[in-house]
């Protein structure tokens, strides 16, 4: 049996581990075109701020890989020949497979603005991009950042930490308006401004100007011009579908897979950012671009490839990130487009927030603590926590398990309710009942 895995991201690595946990003898070949192999892509943000050295981004060393007993090939898979059960690498060499995993990830969307094919325009996708940024980020020079979500903020923070004068362009009137509420956006923006970032609201790029092939200035839709030595963008990502274009495998926005992470070809599986996984609970096929789901999908795909039929159970969308220095957890449904009958409540810090046993205290002592809950008919559907993370784990569990919060629902919605206390108390009794 030969298992072939395309992609050395977390989905690919996790699949290798899963296969090896049940099959000691099958041959495993992994192929990747990233010259740096497996590293923490979210960690690139901390490399930019200078919190870690680039060498710290690699979770595994040679000995760890040797233990997993697989072959690694550096190269780009250019074709999948389904009928022959074979791949073409770099347009020339051929490799046969019995079971194939496509875990090629997603890639940053290009910046489609006139003048964008010059030097000094950067994105944060791979380690090579991050190194390129570090090389170009010069103390005292100016950078313009465009885009939204977490990556744009990571670029902003990283460049600022490197002493650049940073202009962050926001299209609308506030940061990340489809996930954060007004207060939360304000908190983030205020902290950015305190650290010297210059925010430009209602600002959109119109044109990029260059001098001797290097970006020198940008013009905004309203005619304003900003001089800059670097332009960093994060305008979204897209699953890498080029490879499977002419394979006939079913796709939508990503590669469509069933709950066993199997594509429409029973010998081909897909996992991670490139896969659009079927969620039996909602009946929908969903794209994620998150580390932990990629890891879990890789694991489940690997087990299925090795003949252990296992279903992928999507858990409530969950991300922990840092926004302008504040640890922030986003769980479940928190943004726009929510049900009419759902009620959102938000509160800041609570005196007794930290009365939980130390065992679940993750981080505390921030100058800002904020929690927002989204309450459905009988259970919590989403939550955002900024700063203190004490209640993050309880909320994640309660939301994922759809815990029946009827006993505290009314009290949660009372004006000035101490929601942190109510959640903490409820969690302790619920946890006993469910023997978690």
């Amino acid at each position: 049996m030969r298992y072939v895995i395309i992609g050395a991201g977390v989905a690919g690595i996790s699949a290798v581990e899963a296969i090896r946990s049940v099959d000691n003898t099958g041959e495993i070949v992994m192929i990747s075109d990233d010259p740096n192999g497996y590293y923490s892509r979210p960690g690139l943000a901390y490399y930019l701020t200078g919190e870690i050295h680039d060498t710290a981004l690699f979770p595994r060393n040679k000995a760890d890989f040797q233990k997993l007993n697989f072959n690694f090939l550096r190269g780009r898979v250019t074709h999948i020949l389904r009928k022959d059960h074979a791949l073409i690498i770099d347009g020339k060499s051929r490799l046969a497979y019995d079971k194939l995993l496509i875990a090629v990830g997603a890639r940053a969307l290009p910046l489609e603005i006139p003048g964008s094919n010059v030097e000094g325009i950067v994105k944060l996708d791979h380690l090579v991009d991050a190194k390129n940024i570090v090389k170009m980020a010069k103390w005292g020079r100016s950078a313009v950042v465009v885009g939204g979500g977490i990556t744009a903020l990571e670029l902003t923070e990283g460049l600022r930490a490197r002493g650049m004068k940073v202009h962050y362009l926001l299209r609308g009137d506030r940061y990340w308006s489809n996930v954060l509420d007004k207060y939360e956006s304000e908190v983030v923006e205020k902290r950015l401004e305190e650290e010297g970032v210059i925010l430009h609201h209602h600002s959109e790029l119109k044109e990029i100007f260059s001098k001797r092939g290097h970006v020198s200035e940008v013009e905004l839709q309203d005619g304003k011009k900003i001089k800059c030595d670097m332009l960093a963008f994060a305008v979204g990502i897209r699953p890498c579908l080029e490879l499977i274009q002419d394979t006939g495998l079913a796709t939508d926005r990503g590669i469509l897979v069933n709950e066993h992470l199997q594509t429409t070809d029973p010998d081909i599986f897909s996992a991670g950012d490139v896969a659009q996984a079927f969620d039996p609970l909602t009946g929908k096929s969903i794209l994620d671009s998150l580390w932990d789901p990629a890891r879990e999908q890789g694991r489940v795909a690997g087990l299925n490839m090795a003949g252990r039929r296992t279903a992928y159970l999507k858990s409530a969308a969950f991300n922990v990130t840092r926004l302008a220095g504040l640890t922030t957890t986003i769980i479940g449904v928190v943004g726009r487009g929510r049900d009419e009958d759902m009620i959102g409540i938000a509160r800041g810090d609570s005196e007794t927030w930290r009365e939980l046993p130390e065992a679940i205290v993750a981080q505390s002592g921030f100058d800002i603590n904020h929690m927002r809950l989204l309450i459905g008919d009988s259970h919590l559907v989403g939550a955002i926590l900024m700063g203190d993370q004490t209640l993050s784990w309880p909320l994640q569990k309660m939301i994922a398990s759809k815990a029946d919060i009827s006993p505290i629902r009314e009290r949660l919605m009372e004006p000035n309710a101490k929601i942190a206390d109510l959640i903490a108390q409820f969690w302790m009794s619920w946890r006993k009942q469910t023997a978690l």
């Binding site: 002493g163 932990d292 220095g325 993750a362 981080q363 002592g365």
Partner: protein
Amino acid sequence: MALLNIFKSDASKRIVLTRGHVVSESSRCVQCGICSYNCPIGINVRAHVWRNEPVNHSECLTCGECVARCPRGVLSFSEIDIFARREE
């Protein structure tokens, strides 16, 4: 090149327990390596987290450096028995 000390986890704010162990919640972790990088005695904290295990390393000082530095609140202190299953 010197870096501005901004946007980083505030490592001065920490809880330190002399008893107990550092436990992890692996679903929050993205393997960035800040924990291992900052461990004063070089424990591979990140590898423990990947396996969702407590940092049951005999040399762990429970100094709290990894707990405080983790940008995602993956690590916390617990007084669990290292031989027992993690409680929560």
